[in-house]
Subunit: 286 residues, 4 copies
């Protein structure tokens, strides 16, 4: 992939990657995008039958309670067992790697154990706050959804942005709508067997535009011909080489219906100490 790397760009000790691009000035500008005050949640339900990488266990929740059916006080709580990469979620920069090195050159074998991850873990990300941009590829192509294995190229991203009248800027968080989440509802088996998504030509585009985060309404952002795939080439470069954040299993349909293409976006992962990712409920304020 040649020079597709941000290692060392923010110092040899950096664990935050593209988050460094989100300056207060950009946050302030993004807040200026709020026009109507309408709020959108981009999260799918976090539940047993919610979207989930098929090799992982399904989220397990039981409710515990006392005082039900009695006079006097009562309360309810839940016990949840889940992957940190459950449902709509965000990958930490330690999540994916190759050749025993994670983002910025830290050795996986020095920093990843059962007890947790001591470099690039999710708790390095207080939040991603900035300008979010929706690229509605499905609408631009005039289809309900792209098909399994259909790649989206850098050129597609440029043309879609142009058609929407959107100018991509450094520090943007780009949300790509493939329409694939409707397959989750209509044909779960197909959803779990592959997906449309970004091809590797978009990696140079992400670097050239200094994108902070890239999300999609599918399981892995990138195009997959089968699940499990032989390889995740986009993950390898985007996370490990470029230090960019991936947002997966997003719900983008309501945003698309409103043609909301640029907005203030707030993504606040749980502060899981030494964790590899977090379920998220990304919030758009339009």
């Amino acid at each position: 992939m040649g020079d597709l790397s941000n290692w060392g760009r923010w110092g040899a000790d950096d664990e935050r990657g593209s988050l460094n691009l989100l300056t207060p000035e950009l946050v302030k500008q993004a807040a200026g995008l709020v026009k109507t005050g309408k709020v959108y949640s981009l999260s799918m339900p976090l539940e047993t039958n919610g979207p989930q990488w098929p090799l992982r266990h399904r989220t397990w929740k039981v409710t515990v309670h006392r005082g039900v059916g009695k006079s006097g006080s009562g309360s309810a709580d839940d016990v949840v067992t889940m992957h940190s990469h459950s449902g709509t979620h965000m990958d930490a920069l330690c999540h994916y790697f190759y050749d025993d090195q994670i983002y910025n050159g830290f050795k996986a074998s020095d920093h990843i154990t059962s007890q947790g991850i001591t470099r690039n873990s999710i708790d390095n990300v207080p939040a991603l706050v900035g300008r979010g941009v929706l690229l509605d590829i499905a609408a631009w192509k005039g289809v309900d959804n792209l098909h399994l294995g259909e790649g989206i190229s850098a050129d597609d991203l440029d043309q879609c942005a142009a058609a929407q009248g959107i100018n991509i800027q450094p520090g943007d968080m780009v949300l790509v709508r493939t329409g694939w989440m409707r397959i989750f509802s209509s044909d779960r088996a197909q959803y779990d067997s592959g997906e449309p998504g970004l091809d590797t030509s978009t990696l140079a585009w992400l670097k050239a535009h200094d994108i902070v985060a890239i999300g999609a309404d599918n399981q892995a952002v990138e195009v997959l011909h089968s699940i499990p795939p032989d390889k995740l080439p986009f993950h390898e470069v985007a996370i490990r080489d470029l230090g960019i954040y991936l947002l997966e299993n997003l719900q983008l349909d309501v945003l698309a219906a409103d043609k909301a293409y640029e907005f203030l976006l707030v993504v606040a992962p749980l502060r899981l100490t030494n964790g590899a990712g977090s379920p998220i409920n990304p919030i758009v304020i339009a």
Copy 2:
């Protein structure tokens, strides 16, 4: 507590309570409060030794991984077992109740089972987005922290707001700083045995000001002389009668250090279907 109730105010079927107060107009005004673009996370670390109601289990996380120490690709994920009321968290309107009725009069025995909660569950809250206000009671009293069992009254809230030059408005989310989180760090046993917090005189104040959410840097927002307490009278009225959201175990020190007293606040719970609450990472944009 007399007429301290919002039952029926937003319809007999309402499950969202004070969230109804957060109109797009208020959200838009809150976005206008962003001046510097500085972002704050109000979450404590979500980890085994993080703050936790002592009767609950501690959060359990193990990291799973493959490919460490090898050439080729590798990845890491976590398995988390936790209460939905873990660490910094938010109570759903079904969390606390009395006499077998939850907020808006639904029967607990009809709606709360091990399988989940079918009224007032946390997934009714896409997000709380609006104006947040910090009332730094500890600073106003000139102490590092209030002491265990020290109550905060409605009058205290008014005087502190006046001293800070803050005008409380309908739709506000009020964050009360007691300084108690420093006891968590210095004396965990004391933190787990009681706390300073709001007394019941503040309930009428919450209703009069149409407050959407009330949070604090302690375990239960309300004053507790011991843990477990005999009763949680503030919980009973605030959650069950008024339908107001409680935010607990907040980290408010950095906000206080910057004297950030009003700001855009975004609280995005996990969309746990039929859940009783959620860990949160509340984000302030100042």
Copy 3:
């Protein structure tokens, strides 16, 4: 079901049911059945894809470790999340009930909460040790397996015992082989959709013979035309009225292959305080 009840038989406070029948004298006699010293495990693997009631979550296990690939010491442990009714397991006498009463007349609403079960819980059973008897119904019928929905009657049990030359005695633990576990391997979907098993005519037989435990190579011992079934009439009487222990998802094929029809049987549930059941690894010593 008329007088099909053992309530009060062993006192108003009894929580052990048929376990009271297992006198030291019977245990001693059962030990005398050991002829060859061959040991059999009747447990299926306890794993994600092991047999499991389809409405329950699948067993979740991750291995945690340190020191792998290093000089010096290392160790491995696992974290398991499971139902107490996972895989091959045993029902406690509180597991199934009707009309808010569990075995021996205790009220369910007094004794069953999220915190555990305070009557008839699994920790009342240190172990079931005694004479085990295999009734190989599939072999007796000359089939590989009975078919989905095929009932086994009291008369079938008597005829099969006679054909095998076995005399049923008070205190026996009876294991019924339907051959159904081969469907688990060959057609999991069918295994999860119903089963052959005991019909309700066997309930009087269990009572008349003073059987301590009844097990089978299926999910629920009793015949099911579909899963979930409308009703579990055998469970209701066997567990709640008679106080008999059910052993489910047994692996009985090796025992059958050896024509081992009577033997010393040891069933040792985990001592889960206030639990509703336990995974088990029943051991036959022939």
Copy 4:
């Protein structure tokens, strides 16, 4: 430790270690030890506050139920999250190792991952069934319990056996009573800070006598001056070099009270596929 190894003794592919010593002939002889038919459980309660290595999480169990307080049928189940090394438990031969090699020379880095352990895992042990012997060291020394850090030597074992009139035989499972479990009840903090137990002189004794399993009423069988200890030298040799099974946190007091010194012992671990150990409920039939 010189020639203290059983590697290769039962073949290069062996994963069962000392279990190979338990021939049907020995099992049959052990069944002949049953005199009274009295049954003992050697398990401590498996519960949140049960004995547990302090670096591990505490066992987490919640009960789920339906139909409580209603007419019609109802049921209860539990959800358990636990370490496989919870409470009274058994170590698999993969549990402890050094220099990246587990029992019989398999490489840890080839066989131990988050997904499980592919050599020497607990599912290689259908059961341990044979002659059990109790060596009541505390009684022999005339004390309620040995003190923290007090070692038991090979000579102690011999003298205690002689005093009890017991002849140690090949294939025995030896249970050593230190009295330490009474400290668990009276002073949990002390229980968690070290223990009396076997010193390294007993390793040659275990090998010379061809012992199959060694258990004790403490957390790690071996003497510990502190927890966590710097090293577990007994674990290293007993498990990894000799392939012997360790049984930990046993309840031996009732056995000692009855002066039951030899008996049929049945230890049936859960068949956790690729697991590193299992909670157990060891059963003595005397």
